[in-house]
């Protein structure tokens, strides 16, 4: 009797673990199939690889290259900068208000369209910040 209960319990554990594993496998395949859709943005390298749909509106992400941010004279809201993933880079034109944390050498996610000259016309700009936190006064020693 006691053995039977114990065996029953072991069977239950196997059953639960097995079903958990199979559901995990299903989820894995779903995620694998949706891989290209789960990424929020494409990097410049991904765009130039031609494997992704860049005809419609999409999001471009990467770092704002140092020294590339320029404002067009006379037009306060027009900015141009270069987004890079340190292999390839794309020039971006944007008209509008930039988020507070947008700056050079920092992450950015821009949604918009790829123009024919392989530049990027941004409609919306989101700033991506990194995972470093440090007090103000420490930074001034750098």
């Amino acid at each position: 009797m006691r053995n039977m209960i114990r065996r029953n319990r072991a069977n239950k554990i196997y059953l639960i673990l097995l079903s958990l594993a199979s559901v995990a496998l299903i989820v894995f395949f779903i995620i694998k199939a949706l891989e290209k859709n789960i990424d929020l943005y494409l990097t410049p390298t991904q765009i130039f690889s031609g494997e992704y749909n860049t005809v419609q509106k999409f999001k471009l992400g990467g770092m704002v290259e140092k020294g590339s941010l320029q404002r067009v004279e006379g037009e306060d809201l027009v900015v141009t900068f270069t987004v890079t993933d340190f292999q390839n880079s794309i020039d971006v034109v944007y008209v509008g208000v930039l988020p507070n944390l947008f700056k050079e050498n920092s992450g950015v996610v821009a949604s918009g369209y790829l123009t024919e000259g392989n530049a990027f016309w941004a409609v919306e700009i989101l700033a991506k910040h990194d995972e470093n936190y440090m007090p103000v006064k420490l930074e001034s020693y750098d």
Binding site: I16, L20, L40, A127, H129, E131, Y133, M134, P135, L138
Partner: protein, 242 residues
């Protein structure tokens, strides 16, 4: 082993334990929370990039950790209940759902509030945010299912199964920022150290502990409630606390 553990989980005993500790845990938790709020809002230095906005981190991150820990707790209890049929783990499972729901909602709300001034948007469908939103839906489903059956045992079995299956989402939330391109930044605290400066970092685990005490107190009260639901005929419980 079962024999030795079981006697500590007699329902009357658990009930009395909960009654003894619930208010104390709440007091400790609230005290810690107010002290830590003062430290986080006023004493800690402001961040070099985000200046004052980053202070919401001390609510956002502990609630994120809590929401995931509570889900794992649900899954473990669901597993124990399905295999050993221990009443107490079903009670634990039922009692923890609402607390997990609160923390998941809190993490999404604080994240939204934080997102607007830093990223420039309240909401994007990136992997981290979407998977956390799915966790919220899971909690809502568990809470709804819990009261959807006339037989309590069936409800317990169903939510046990659902909580175990849903635990797959926890590693997805954890690693979403590593696996995919997301707007959410990568983890600050990894096995190789922390990228939050030590001057700010100490407040994080302390805030987490305060959150744990507050949720422990809600949890203990929920356990009492569940015990009363399940054992209405236990005369002595009613007599003592009727």
């Amino acid at each position: 082993m079962y024999k030795y553990v079981a006697k500590y989980f007699l329902l009357e005993r658990v009930y009395r334990f909960c009654n003894f500790f619930a208010n104390k845990a709440l007091l400790i938790g609230l005290f810690g929370f107010f002290i830590m709020s003062y430290i986080c809002l006023i004493i800690l230095p402001s961040d070099s990039v985000q200046s004052e906005v980053y202070r919401i981190l001390f609510v956002h991150v502990p609630s994120a950790i809590m929401s995931e820990l509570i889900y794992l707790f649900l899954a473990v209890n669901g597993f124990i209940y399905l295999v050993w049929r221990t009443k107490i783990s079903a009670i634990f499972l039922n009692s923890a759902i609402s607390i997990g729901l609160i923390f998941t909602a809190l993490v999404l709300i604080t994240g939204s509030i934080w997102g607007k001034p830093t990223w420039g948007t309240y909401w994007v469908w990136d992997a981290r945010i979407t998977s956390t939103f799915i966790l919220l839906i899971q909690y809502v489903c568990l809470l709804a299912l819990k009261t959807s059956f006339t037989t309590r045992q069936i409800a317990d079995q169903i939510i046990s199964i659902l909580s175990i299956i849903g635990a797959i989402n926890i590693p997805i939330i954890k690693f979403s920022v590593n696996w995919w391109n997301t707007l959410h930044q990568g983890p600050s605290i990894t096995t190789s150290g922390s990228s939050i400066d030590g001057e700010m970092l100490y407040a994080l685990p302390l805030m987490l502990i305060a959150f744990m005490f507050i949720s422990l107190s809600i949890f203990l009260r929920n356990i009492q409630f569940e015990i009363l639901l399940r054992a209405p005929s236990k005369k002595e419980i009613w007599r003592d606390h009727g």
